[in-house]
């Protein structure tokens, strides 16, 4: 089952890749990076520039995190558990 969120997270990086993140006061360690993509556009309205990371965290859940490059903030968008 996947759940959608749009909440800020704090991400720790290692060699550019997310190594861990803190969400709702809990720290999740990243075991593996499954995928990476970018979404950019809508410059005529809100404008967005996001770098997505699909990661597997300790415990087996898969998370979609994105880095809002314009604001420099990380978000969690989706969780499969």
């Amino acid at each position: 089952m996947s759940k959608r969120y749009d909440e800020e997270v704090r991400v720790e990086r290692d060699a550019g890749m997310p190594s861990a993140f803190v969400w709702r006061d809990r720290r999740y360690e990243v075991l593996d990076v499954i995928g990476k993509w970018r979404i950019e556009g809508r410059w005529w309205s809100d404008g967005r520039d996001r770098e997505y990371w699909r990661v597997e965290a300790r415990g087996g859940a898969v998370w979609d995190l994105y880095h809002d490059r314009a604001r420099g903030l990380w978000h969690v968008e989706r969780l499969w558990d």
């Binding site: 993509w37 970018r38 979404i39 556009g41 410059w43 005529w44």
Partner: protein, 1121 residues
């Protein structure tokens, strides 16, 4: 970090993939060079438009160009066409020829603007081509959908045809799902035996430009910009450097390595700048040079030239240069084409520097004797020029298409084609299209586009505050800034590919192997190359320009033949005809070629031409440069004998004697340099061409002075000569060019002198000049040529002349009109010479007899009736060929003319001369009310009885003129200003003809109909309005500066007749002008006068009467220009 191994981009679409790629070939190569790429491909959609520019740019930047295209392959899938691209790259000559052939087929075999090929069409042309099937190709899509086997099966025939030149393009677009797609494509490659290679679909050069791709896509699809209309998900479609590409494919570096091997495999060289001569089949294996020499000698006899030493030397010089440079076949081809044009009965004139060639004169290409007029061949053809000579031929504008058809069909499918023209975005068009894509309202966008075409995004705020007409606009500043930010980036990108208005490329049979062909909107074969590309590709071209004056003169000649039976051969008239020069000297030259503008007429009066050669000087001098640089004054003073000719050195006399020591022509610059420094003419022309190069100038100067000193020239004189040369070189004019122009100039003046009615009928028909038709009508009236009213039984499609009794009424007008035109002339058909037998046939009057202006009038033409179509005109001609119309009802029943046009005809008096007419208002009533459903047969008794019982008031004179303006766009019966004469007298207006007698600085009032207004962009940023008023005695030039515009702008723009008070200013050769201080609407003053309130109206104390603007005056300004 170790240096990254190179990567070569193979899927790159430039701006020549219209509305898709966001960069030019030059920008692409510069960026590729910046990124240190050894090679880069350009693969535009179904075209090689940018190929020549791309290769030239690559040569400059030191990047290897890979030439290819993305071909649209169309398949029928479940009854519907589905398009998918395949990228093809040429490895060698054969591959490039195949690519050109495929693109040509894609464009020529289907509908225009829908290029595509079937998969099977590609297979036989696989030789020398590499093929790349990516994720958007048919097999790629199958693979991505999990149908690897189906994809591989699809590729089977291609594997067979292309062998090891078949590739699968693997993309990493960094989208969600890219990983899966890559895996699928790799499996497809493995299964099909195609070699995989890494690519990136490049549509912009840097990620910041991705927004352009969105705008272009929405403009292409004509949809507003919105997420669901934009296909890109991110900004990864840019020209990534090698490190970025290799990082994306870090697991499979071999995919990136493959691109280098591919680049090495492509060895095709487009071979720029190598001249490709046209084929010219010569008899019996003789050389083109021999045939050309023989033709020239034949020309010597045909032109009746004496075989002098000078002629032999000159001919020898030209022929040996032509032989050395290999151009004989080109001259022969052009000479044949010109002869063909003439044999079609089409007037034709050579323009430009080609007139400086004796060979051109002898082979009939030009009509100017280069030897007699001392024109330099080196100005035309010169081995140091680095560009092939270009011959321009003017033909009748109305027959240009016929000429194209003839040339293209005579020179075969493979050897001749039209040149394309790349229509680029200008600020205005970009604003409109971007505005539409951004979903902004049309009306506002139109206002913005019109108001400031030159503004940049940074200055939007400022402009919005400054321009009053934009104050109330319903757009946010932010929207406008976005609009301008995007529009600015489109500026200069190609918008669509059009037919070049004049270029025809003449080539050997290999043309189609180096340039693809497509069809222009009117069906001509057109190459995918513009005129600059043609030059880069080394093809020779012939420019065929349509010139309205030639059509006007043709019409005049036809009318002369029809009305007098006389066959005038304009090419054999005397070149020193005194009455013609009298006309020119009194500057009675309205309608004449090149010499009709106010400034030109002023110059003619000062220059007082006496010989044909004087026209060459006149045309050369009348350009902004000479006028501004005060080069006219010394010339005129010396010519008039007020000053003595001055020569910096006696050796300059031969070159400068004809212009009294003033350098006027390019040819004189060349000869001056040669005379002082001893250069040969070839090198002297090379120096002349580069006199605008500030970087080269010091070296040129030094060399010139040194060589002058060596030859014993006084240093002071040499220095003086050099400064005169550099000063005037940029203004100098090519004498050959002016001489070529002087031919039609003189011919038109000759026609106006001896056959003014026929000549002006031609001018009215083809509208060749700068003035509106009504001014030409006014000119006819000044020459006592009656303007005969529109008449459904007498008017022809064009303006024709009719013999009239002295006094101005048509002599036996009815007979006249029933005696000709009965065979039903078709609009546009110029073959009126067939009507030999006319009632006017009264022998061959001498030109002097024809100069009795009273004998011919000009009949107004059907072509200028507002809203009338060619079909309607044809139906009128056909119906009256059976029998003349006898009333409006008869006309309505026997023609297919639409009701509004019939009303317009009645309103303009076209039925007034009909036997059944009682009054024009009655005709108009009938035109509006007659029931045409009734059978024509019932009404043949002529007793239609439809005339209403009541009597109608006649049109007043003013109504008559107003109707003419509304329907024809010209005041035919009398000048509109004549109605205001009492007012003008009260106002103390100075007429145009009297202005020259007033002193500069005087305050005068002028009045007239506004015939032209211009508001050019001025460097200072000021807006200046230039107006031309016409008051029946001539034109008046008025300038309105910004300081008075708040007060007068509205009146200036919205009134059609104006009174202006201002300061009279003498403006050099431009004559006299008025600097406006105040402006009134003449009609408003007229009404005020009627009420006895003129004084108040002048003082601005009377509220403007509310009356609708006469919009028809503007709406029907004659035919489209």
């Amino acid at each position: 970090m170790a240096e990254t191994s190179p990567f070569v981009h193979l899927d790159v679409r430039s701006c020549f993939s219209l509305k898709e790629g966001a960069f030019t070939p030059e920008q692409l190569t510069r960026r590729a060079a910046e990124l240190g790429m050894p090679a880069v491909a350009m693969t535009d959609r179904d075209g090689l438009y940018g190929a020549a520019r791309f290769v030239a740019a690559c040569e400059r930047e030191g990047v290897k160009p890979l030439l290819g295209a993305a071909l649209t392959v169309r398949e029928r899938v479940r009854g519907r066409g589905r398009d998918a691209p395949v990228v093809l790259l040429a490895t060698d000559d054969r591959g490039y020829a195949n690519l050109c052939g495929l693109i040509t087929d894609a464009h020529m075999l289907g509908e225009r603007l829908d290029p595509h090929v079937a998969p099977a069409q590609v297979l036989p042309r696989a030789g020398g081509l590499l093929a790349f099937f990516g994720p958007r190709s048919a097999p790629g899509r199958m693979a991505a959908a999990g149908r690897i086997d189906a994809g591989a099966r699809w590729l089977g025939p291609f594997r067979e045809a292309f062998g090891d030149r078949l590739h699968v393009a693997v993309e990493h677009r960094m989208e969600r799902g890219s990983d899966e797609e890559i895996r699928a494509m790799l499996r497809l490659a493995e299964r099909s035996g195609a070699k995989p290679a890494a690519t990136n679909p490049v549509r912009y050069l840097v990620p910041e430009d991705a927004f352009l791709a969105d705008v272009l896509e929405c403009m292409r699809e004509i949809v507003p910009l919105a997420q669901n209309h934009v296909s890109r998900e991110n900004a990864e479609g840019y020209l990534k450097d090698a490190a970025q590409m290799r990082a994306l494919f870090s697991e499979r570096p071999d995919l990136c390595d493959a691109t280098r091997g591919i680049a090495e495999r492509c060895s095709f060289d487009l071979g720029l700048k190598r001249v490709r001569f046209p084929d010219f089949p010569t008899p019996g294996g003789r050389s083109a040079d021999a045939v050309l020499a023989e033709r020239c000698w034949r020309g010597v006899h045909e032109r009746g030239l004496p075989e002098t030493e000078a002629l032999r030397d000159r001919l020898h010089l030209e022929l040996s240069m032509i032989r050395r440079m290999g151009f004989a076949a080109y001259f022969l081809t052009v000479a044949d084409i010109v002869a063909d044009i003439r044999s079609m009965g089409i007037r034709c004139a050579c323009r430009g520097s080609a007139a400086g060639s004796l060979v051109c004169y002898l082979t009939g290409i030009s009509d100017v004797d280069a030897l007699r007029h001392d024109l330099a061949f080196e100005r035309f053809m010169n081995p140091m020029r680095g560009e092939p000579p270009d011959i321009d031929v003017d033909v009748e504008s109305a027959r240009r298409e016929d000429v194209y058809d003839m040339v293209l069909s005579r020179h075969g499918d493979e050897r001749a084609a039209c040149v394309a023209m790349i229509d680029t975005y200008r600020a205005r068009s970009a604003i409109r299209e971007v505005g539409k894509a951004l979903g902004l309202p049309d009306v506002e966008i139109g206002m913005v586009a019109k108001s400031f075409p030159h503004i940049s995004a940074r200055h939007v705020r400022e402009a919005m505050e400054r321009l009053p007409e934009l104050q109330g606009i319903n757009l946010k500043i932010e929207q406008l800034e976005l609009l301008f930010r995007v529009a600015e980036r489109l500026d200069g990108l190609p918008r669509h590919i059009a037919l070049h208005p004049c270029g025809i490329v003449l080539s050997s049979h290999d043309l189609v192997e180096r340039v693809p062909l497509e069809r222009s909107a009117n069906g001509h074969r057109m190459i995918q190359a513009d005129k600059d590309d043609v030059e880069l590709l080394g093809y020779l071209k012939l420019d065929v320009l349509g010139v309205r004056m030639l059509s006007s003169m043709r019409h005049a000649l036809d009318e002369i033949a029809r009305t007098t039976g006389e066959k005038v051969d304009l090419d054999r008239i005397s070149l020193d005809d005194p009455p013609t020069f009298e006309l020119i000297r009194r500057s009675d030259t309205l309608g004449c070629f090149q010499i009709e503008s106010p400034g030109q007429r002023e110059l003619l009066q000062k220059l007082q031409p006496e010989r044909w050669e004087d026209l060459i000087v006149d045309i050369s001098l009348f350009r902004p440069g000479p006028v501004k640089s005060d080069m006219i004054r010394p010339y005129l003073a010396r010519r008039a004998g007020r000053e003595r000719p001055v020569y910096a050195h006696p050796d300059l006399k031969p070159a400068l004697r004809e212009t009294f020591g003033v350098i006027v022509y390019h040819e004189q610059v060349i000869r001056t340099l040669a005379a002082i420094a001893g250069y040969d003419l070839t090198y002297a022309d090379h120096v002349r061409r580069h006199l605008d190069r500030q970087d080269l100038l010091p070296a040129f100067r030094e060399d010139f002075l040194r060589r002058a000193t060596e030859r014993g020239v006084d240093p002071g004189a040499a220095e003086k000569t050099w400064s005169a040369v550099t000063e005037f070189a940029s203004f100098g004019f090519c004498k050959a060019h002016a001489a070529a122009f002087a031919v039609p100039t003189y011919q038109s003046a000759w026609l106006k002198t001896h056959y003014p009615a026929q000549f002006l009928a031609g001018v009215l028909t083809h509208d060749p000049g700068m003035y509106p038709r009504r001014l030409i009508v006014q000119d006819a009236r000044r020459h006592a040529i009656p303007i005969l009213p529109l008449d459904v039984n007498g008017s022809e499609p064009e303006y024709v002349v009719e013999k009239v009794a002295v006094g101005g009424t048509p002599r036996a007008a009815r007979t006249a009109s029933s005696g000709r035109g009965r065979e039903g002339r078709v609009p546009g058909g110029a073959a009126s010479t067939t009507r030999a037998a006319t009632p006017f046939h009264e022998g061959f009057p001498s030109p002097s007899a024809a100069s009795e202006p009273h004998s011919y009038g000009i009949r107004l033409a059907l072509q200028d009736v507002h809203g009338i179509s060619d079909t309607e005109i044809r139906s009128i001609l056909e119906a009256r060929a059976e029998r003349p119309f006898h009333d409006v009802g008869d006309f309505l029943r026997r023609t297919t003319v639409s009701r509004p046009v019939v009303e317009a005809l009645a309103h303009a008096g076209a039925f007034d001369a009909l036997p059944g007419t009682k009054s024009r208002r009655g005709n108009l009533y009938e035109a509006m009310t007659t029931d045409t459903v009734r059978e024509a047969g019932q009404l043949t008794l002529g007793l239609d009885g439809a005339a209403p019982a009541h009597r109608f008031k006649d049109y007043t004179d003013a109504e008559v003129v107003r109707a003419e303006l509304e329907v024809l766009g010209l005041d035919a019966t009398r000048h509109i200003v004549s109605f205001y004469e009492p007012l003008l007298a009260d106002l103390g207006v100075t007429h145009a003809k009297d202005l020259r007698r007033r002193r500069g600085g005087e305050r005068v009032m002028v009045a007239g109909v506004k015939v032209a207004s211009q508001t050019p962009a001025i460097r200072s940023g000021q807006r200046i309005i230039f107006l031309t008023l016409d008051d029946a005695t001539g034109p008046v030039e008025v300038t309105v500066f910004e300081s008075v515009q708040p007060k007068v702008a509205k009146t200036v723009f919205h009134s059609f007749a104006l009174a202006v008070v201002g300061e009279l200013r003498r403006t050099g050769v431009g004559g006299v002008g008025i600097i406006a201080e105040d402006v009134w609407d003449l009609t408003a003053l007229h009404h005020a006068r009627g009420r006895g309130e003129l004084r108040e109206a002048l003082a601005g104390e009377v509220a403007e009467p509310r009356r609708p603007a006469r919009k028809l005056w503007h709406a029907s300004g004659g035919s489209a220009g």
